[in-house]
Structures are given as structure tokens and as C-alpha cells.
């Protein structure tokens, strides 16, 4: 048997596969955005000198960086209904929601570290100058500190985005119908491993490439400010 190009195209165009890619993409973007906003307070707590903030934040990062994503997925999907039986009857607690919660919990831990080091890399003089101009703490953070920290954080953040995309594939263990779940089922029915694996690979490549183009655009806009 050899590689069947037709079967590969067929696999690419299967509605379940297209939907699976859509689910992977939406889940990744959603997890990335939610985690970003969750990582900001976490990063500030990590930076904080107050032990009541610093220690809980450190423990959070320690736990969620150590725990395998697959374990968190199973914990949330199988474990939370045991603790909160109401979830079993609720119609909103779907594999997609459980995957979102699990991946956000994990991603916040990684992103908080990225944002902490990016925020620390902005010179303290910047905050002082913003404060001296009467910009309150919140405006100083949003208008002066964050834009500079984001520029520093951009390359590791793109890495993190790709990581999130890849770990969405683990959500097949809680029967989320993303790319790998569709591929596994189709292979069980057809035993055409290579065509389906290649189709999955191509979808991941497409999504990652889309975001590399986006990164390129953002980086070009930023570098205008750096031309000396």
C-alpha cells in the first residue's frame, strides 16, 4: 500500500475534520485571550513583595507547571462533577468548556512567568516618569508599562500560542471533537494512518502559519519605534 493523495484530500475536506480544525482554532484563541488577562494579575502577584500575594502566586505556578495537561483535563472533566453533582445535569458543562477551563488554568501559569519577566525588564524609571506626569497607577500601567512589556513578551507569547494549539489535541481524552479526536476515529474505521496523520499535520501547519503572519505584522509595526 502507498500514500493515496485522493484519500488525503478527502480527509482534509471531511466536514468533521474541518469542524475539528475550527474547534482547535477557536479553543486556542479563547484560551490564549482568557489566559492573557488571567496572567496579568498573576504576574503582578509574582512580582509583589507582599508575601500574602507572592507565595500563593508561586504555589499556583508551581502546581500548574508541574501537572501534566492531560491530568488537569481529566481532573476538570471527570473530577468536578464528583465534587459538584449539579454539573452532571447542567447543559453548559461540555467538553469544550471543560477543555477551556483546564487549558486556561495551565496556560496562566506559563504566561504569568513570561509577563513577570517582561514587566521586570521595563525600567523602573518609566513608571516613575508616568507617575510624575500625574498618570494614575492604572493608566501608567496601561499606557506606558504594558506596551513596552508586550513588545518584550511577543516572541515567547507566540511560542506559548503554538503550545496551546498543540495541547488542544489532548482534549480528545475528554471526547472533544477536535482534530486528533476526528483523526483517531477515522483511522479506527479505515486503517489509513498516513493520510489522516498528514491531514492533521497540514491543519496544524495552516493554523500556526496564520499566526506567524500575524506576528510578523505586529512585529513590523513595533519595530518602527525601534529604528534608530
Amino acid at each position: 500500500m502507498e500514500f493515496s493523495f485522493e484519500l488525503f484530500i478527502e480527509a482534509m475536506l471531511t466536514p468533521a475534520m474541518i469542524r475539528g480544525a475550527g474547534i482547535a482554532l477557536v479553543l486556542t484563541v479563547l484560551v490564549f485571550v482568557l489566559s492573557f488577562f488571567g496572567s496579568l494579575p498573576m504576574a503582578l502577584w509574582l512580582k509583589s513583595k507582599k508575601r500574602t500575594r507572592n507565595i500563593p502566586a508561586k504555589i499556583y505556578v508551581w502546581v500548574f507547571r508541574a501537572a501534566p495537561v492531560i491530568l488537569i483535563l481529566l481532573f476538570v472533566w471527570n473530577g468536578s462533577p464528583q465534587l459538584f453533582p449539579a454539573l452532571l445535569k447542567s447543559d453548559w458543562f461540555t467538553p469544550f468548556v471543560a477543555a477551556t477551563i483546564s487549558l486556561v488554568l495551565t496556560t496562566i501559569a506559563y504566561m504569568a512567568e513570561i509577563m513577570r519577566s517582561a514587566l521586570s525588564a521595563v525600567s523602573p524609571g518609566q513608571a516613575e516618569a508616568a507617575q510624575a506626569l500625574g498618570l494614575g497607577r492604572f493608566k501608567a500601567f496601561r499606557l506606558v508599562i504594558m506596551p513596552q512589556a508586550l513588545r518584550i513578551a511577543l516572541p515567547p507569547m507566540v511560542n506559548e500560542f503554538i503550545n496551546v494549539l498543540k495541547v488542544t489535541s489532548l482534549a480528545y481524552v475528554i471526547s472533544l471533537r477536535e482534530i486528533m479526536a476526528v483523526v483517531n476515529d477515522s483511522i479506527a474505521a479505515t486503517f489509513r494512518f498516513v493520510e489522516w496523520y498528514t491531514a492533521a499535520l497540514v491543519y496544524y501547519l495552516i493554523i500556526v502559519s496564520l499566526f506567524m503572519v500575524l506576528q510578523g505584522i505586529v512585529a513590523r509595526r513595533q519595530s518602527k519605534a525601534d529604528r534608530a
Partner: protein
């Protein structure tokens, strides 16, 4: 650590603070806009007492301009945007209004032609002049200068001192920490000498630079005047 510090500055007065490093000069002027908190005593700025109240602090900060040793321009914004950021976001000026005002002050510090460049494209002296213009855009009642020429190459010190002098001639109230004694003598209405966190001497320059003052001041002047 500051102790026994008492200083009244009249409107329009120019104060120059000098003293050895670690004497508390920077700390003193940084308490005036609460970049350093004071834990005893009281500070009044333009009739308002400085407290922990965040609103009061921001109010006072928008009335007190400050220039730093390392300029601290915002590197991600153009020169013009550096100057309009706070007027737009704290004084509620429209963008057009803020830009017009910013160009006025950039012209005053003779750097209007660089308005659309980024800070990294400017020399140190130019950056410090932009920092002065940025502070002026807030229409401050007084200006604080924290060693404004200490980080500059020698050939750029003059242009920054000239700019400060220009402000002084406009009647701006100012407190300046500097090691430029020639400039201090010319600018100051009163000189303040600090050592070990205390104000040791306050006197007009005509007396300040004469012999016969305290031993600590004489020793300091001996080191900085060549």
C-alpha cells in the same frame, strides 16, 4: 533617610540643592511629588497637603513637573506622543489641542523639528530637552530637576542648562539638584547644602560660595570647585 528638613519655597523662586552623593538631595525632591513617601512631618504643595490619598497625589503630580537624570522618555512613543500622553489622559485635552500645545513647548526647547521621531533617535541633550517640554505640557506650577545633566556627555550639558535658564527667566518656580556649580551660582535665588540626610545650609549664592561657612560645606565646595 531624611531628618530635620525644613524648606519653604516661594512662587517663582529658584532653589538649587547640592551635596555629596547619598546626602538625600534626590530623596528630598522625590518626596515633593511622592515618588518617595514621607513617614513623618508634612509636605504642602501649592496649598495642598500631600497625604496617602491617591487622588491628592495625582493632583499634586500633575501640578509638579519633574525631569530625571536618565530622561525617562517613553521609548514606544514619538516625541510628540510623549508630550501629549498625559495632557490627553489626565487633563482631558483633545488630541488636536494637546498636539498644538506640545508643538509650542517643543519649539520653546528648540526641538520641534524632531517631533515625529522616537526617543532612541535623539541625542541625550535632545532627549532631556524633550523631557522638559513633556513636563511643561502639564502646565506645572513648579519644576523639579533631579541631576538633569549628570548623564549627559559634556558637550550637551550647555544646551540643557540653557533650556532650564529659559524657564527660570519665565518665572517658573524650580528646585534643581545639580553638581554644576557655575550654573547653580547663576540660577539660584537660594542654595541648599545637604549632607547625611540633613539640610546643613540655606543661603543666597553670594554668601554660599564665600569662605567661613560650616566646615562640611567648605570641604564639599573644595571638592567640587576647581
Amino acid at each position: 533617610m531624611l531628618k530635620d528638613v525644613s524648606l519653604d519655597v516661594a512662587p517663582g523662586e529658584k532653589i538649587v540643592i547640592c551635596g555629596p552623593s547619598g546626602s538625600g538631595k534626590s530623596t528630598l525632591i522625590r518626596t515633593i511629588n511622592r515618588l518617595e513617601p514621607h513617614d513623618a512631618g508634612s509636605i504642602h504643595v501649592d496649598g495642598t497637603e500631600l497625604t496617602d490619598n491617591l487622588k491628592t497625589i495625582d493632583q499634586i503630580r500633575s501640578r509638579v513637573g519633574m525631569c530625571f537624570q536618565h530622561f525617562n522618555l517613553f521609548p514606544h512613543l514619538t516625541i510628540l506622543a510623549n508630550c501629549t500622553l498625559s495632557p490627553v489622559h489626565t487633563l482631558g485635552q483633545s488630541r488636536a489641542e494637546a498636539q498644538e500645545q506640545a508643538m509650542h513647548y517643543l519649539e520653546k526647547v528648540r526641538i520641534a523639528d524632531q517631533a515625529h521621531k522616537y526617543p532612541s533617535q535623539l541625542s541625550g541633550g535632545q532627549q532631556q530637552r524633550v523631557a522638559i517640554a513633556r513636563a511643561l505640557c502639564m502646565k506645572p506650577r513648579m519644576m523639579l530637576f533631579d541631576e538633569p545633566t549628570s548623564a549627559l556627555d559634556p558637550e550637551m550639558i550647555g544646551e540643557v542648562l540653557d533650556t532650564i535658564d529659559l524657564l527660570a527667566k519665565d518665572g517658573m518656580t524650580m528646585i534643581c539638584v545639580t553638581h554644576e556649580m557655575g550654573f547653580a551660582k547663576h540660577l539660584a535665588d537660594r542654595m541648599v547644602f545637604m549632607d547625611g540626610g540633613e539640610i546643613v545650609e540655606i543661603s543666597p549664592p553670594s554668601e554660599f560660595f564665600l569662605e567661613g561657612r560650616s566646615a562640611r560645606l567648605r570641604r564639599f565646595l573644595g571638592q567640587v570647585m576647581h
